[in-house]
């Protein structure tokens, strides 16, 4: 038995066999061979095994993801049956007397170079397919297992260095019981994904991939942030009990699904959910979300090889708006850049992506992308209660420009006879300190604010949230952050507007009392945190929390704030 400590990223307890999602080592040496027939047979066997694997993946993909996604695997199979590819590889083995690995790599490299040199961008991307297929055959030749998450067919715990959006897109939700990663924090993609899938996750363990092998039995405790590898029977029994308790607690909270979120002294606040795709709506309803506080539209753009069409986007937005049945849905326009890349946009690499060309900056420059999204949103607006917000606004100028583009698209749609909702509230994300400081000026022009604390904290503290060495500076309770939050909330209220929060902080048990006291109107969080937050707020007095917040604003450090909140809550 071994215990590893990491960061608790998504609550719950799961136990299952480990599945390592790790790029295998495919290095090999060029070797001279004697027995051409044996080497050719080795190649044939690896190709046959690869085709069998691809057929299984293809069938699974068709079931889980649909024909479009599955078609790519058909192409892979045909590549492995291509006489113009296999012929030259065998020829090379015969005439050069080299090992199959070398012959395969040399030949496929030639095809990759050929496709990469074509004028047509689409064709250039096919080089990636050949690379994929080559890797698969190589893994069979070398006898190393290539991870193919789409073929998972039993309950597993995913062990990875980190999980990228394209990894998680391939995972079969039915069988994945938890994540454990080496790197990352509460706001990394794998953590956010785990919360939206409602499975436990422990991230930032530094060494999970080093100590956990395929098939090891692992317990993931998403509350304590621990991993227990190959536990004893006693420990398993202990955790089964904890699992049971957690389920009971959840059942207790579940009674609050249809209740209002009202403090002891009668103040109502709205508890909304952050979502990434229309599929997340089930979770929002099951957890009693009073709206969508953040719909991250970038997932529509990720894990594919071209931009989504207006029609595709329209369908997704319409689905969410209809699904929420008149409750507010705040859609954030495309927030790409930073840690979220879109390879097909072919943007130049930047030294400082978080301070670079991203989100609204990109949208105002690449206006066709932005306008397509806005048209889709405007057309969908008649199906529910749509509010639109722009991410990463740093200046009033940017907001005015984005708003003008929206108005233009609205006018042209209406002239073309399309229906658009009469009044669509227009807001901004407050995640850049300049905007938080200037909130009074913004409040005159926007309809609402939504504070994005993950970025606001990183920009205020000048600490990269992906860099573990400065992670101690990620301080949501730092009075500097609280003062900025207060400034934003007060500014909005003075203009008769409202303020929400859609960062991790909004669902944090220690932050909620402070935010309630500061007058926050809407709290948007992972759907799975809503009931816990509702149960907490129903036991707090707004008036008391105002006093608490006032005291906290006068403290010097984050530690003092945490201590004050803990003392107040335990009274």
């Amino acid at each position: 038995m071994k215990i590893l400590q990491g960061i608790a990223a998504s609550s719950g307890i799961s136990m299952a066999k480990a599945y390592r999602l790790i790029e295998p080592d495919l290095t090999f040496e060029k070797q001279k061979i004697e027995d051409v027939d044996a080497e050719t047979l080795r190649l044939d066997e690896s190709i046959t095994a690869s085709i069998r694997e691809l057929e299984a993946i293809q069938q699974n993909a068709e079931k889980e993801l649909g024909g479009d996604e599955a078609a790519i695997f058909n192409a892979h199979i045909l590549v492995l049956k291509d006489p113009e590819l296999i012929g030259p590889i065998k020829e090379k083995i015969r005439t050069d007397k080299v090992n199959a690995e070398h012959a395969l790599k040399e030949t496929t490299d030639m095809f990759i170079a050929m496709f990469e040199s074509m004028d047509n961008e689409y064709m250039r991307e096919r080089a990636a397919d050949i690379r994929d297929v080559t890797k698969r055959v190589l893994s069979h030749l070398l006898g190393v297992k290539a991870a193919s998450p789409s073929t998972i067919s039993e309950e597993v715990i995913i062990i990875a260095d980190d999980l990228t959006p394209s990894d998680t897109a391939q995972l079969n939700r039915k069988f994945v019981k938890a994540f454990a990663t080496d790197i990352g924090g509460r706001t990394s993609h794998s953590a956010i994904m785990a919360r939206s899938l409602e499975i436990p996750a422990v991230v930032g363990t530094k060494e999970a991939t080093q100590h956990i092998q395929d098939g090891d039995f692992v317990i993931v405790d998403g509350m304590e942030g621990t991993l227990i590898v190959n536990p004893t029977e006693e420990v398993i029994a202990e955790y089964r009990e904890a699992q049971q308790k957690f389920a009971e607690q959840k059942a207790e909270w579940a009674k609050l699904v249809d209740e209002k979120t009202v403090s002891l002294d009668g103040k109502h606040v709205e508890l909304a959910a952050n979502i990434g795709t229309p599929d997340d709506l089930d979770g929002v309803k099951a957890n009693g979300g009073e709206g969508i506080g953040l719909y991250r539209t970038e997932f529509l753009y990720m894990g594919r090889d071209q931009l989504p069409t207006e029609e595709e986007q329209f369908e997704a937005y319409k689905k969410v708006l209809e699904g929420m049945d008149g409750k507010p849905v705040i859609v954030r326009t495309l927030d790409i850049g930073g840690d979220k890349e879109l390879p097909y946009l072919e943007l130049p690499e930047e030294l400082n992506p978080f301070l670079g060309f991203r989100a609204i900056r990109l949208c105002l420059e690449e206006q066709e992308i932005f306008r397509t999204q806005l048209r889709a949103l405007l057309r969908a607006s008649i199906y529910g209660n749509l509010k639109i917000m722009f991410p990463m606004i740093a200046t009033l100028q940017e907001f005015r420009q984005a708003k003008a583009i929206l108005e233009e698209e609205k006018d042209s749609l209406m002239k073309a006879g399309e229906k658009v909702a009469d009044h669509i509230e227009l807001g901004i994300m407050v995640e850049i300190p300049s905007t938080a400081v200037m909130a009074d000026q913004f409040a005159k022009e926007v309809d609402f604010f939504s504070i994005g604390t993950n970025d606001l904290i990183q920009y205020t503290m000048a600490a990269d949230r992906m860099n573990e060495r400065v992670s101690y500076l990620y301080q949501p309770y730092n009075p500097a952050i609280l003062r900025l939050v207060k400034n934003v909330i007060d500014a909005s209220h003075r203009e008769g507007k409202w303020t929400g929060m859609c960062g991790e902080m909004a669902g944090d048990e220690l932050a909620i009392p402070l935010l309630l006291g500061l007058g926050l109107d809407e709290f948007s969080m992972s759907a799975t945190s809503i009931l816990r937050a509702r149960s907490q707020i129903r036991n707090l007095s707004k008036l008391e929390m105002e006093k608490l917040a006032e005291k906290a604003l006068e403290l010097g450090t984050a530690e003092e704030v945490v201590q004050l909140v803990k003392e107040t809550l335990s009274e």
């Binding site: 790519i72 192409a75 045909l78 291509d82 006489p83 113009e84 004028d119 047509n120 689409y122 096919r126």
Partner: protein, 88 residues
């Protein structure tokens, strides 16, 4: 031997998915089947070969089949091209 000329009518050309479909069809026949374009001749049973031509909208190409089921092969490929709106 059977031979016939076509013109691509699909906006996006003969890209990966239709190429996959056409090559799967070609693979069902015993005949040697070739696709001729701008002086190049590639094996129609090779998906990489067909894709490497990068056939775009408005471009002409010829299909040639040689062997016992040549006529039938050409007929089937023509069917697929028309049914999918790829070429005429």
């Amino acid at each position: 031997m059977a031979e016939k000329q076509f013109t691509v009518i699909d906006k996006t050309g003969i890209h990966a998915r239709p190429a996959t479909q056409l090559v799967s069809t070609a693979n069902q026949f015993k005949s040697d089947i070739f696709i001729l374009h701008k002086g190049k001749e590639v094996n129609f049973k090779s998906v990489l070969g067909v894709m490497s031509l990068g056939l775009g909208m408005g471009e002409e190409f010829t299909i040639r089949a040689e062997g016992e089921d040549a006529e039938k092969a050409l007929e089937e490929l023509e069917n697929t091209l028309q049914k999918e709106g790829l070429a005429k």
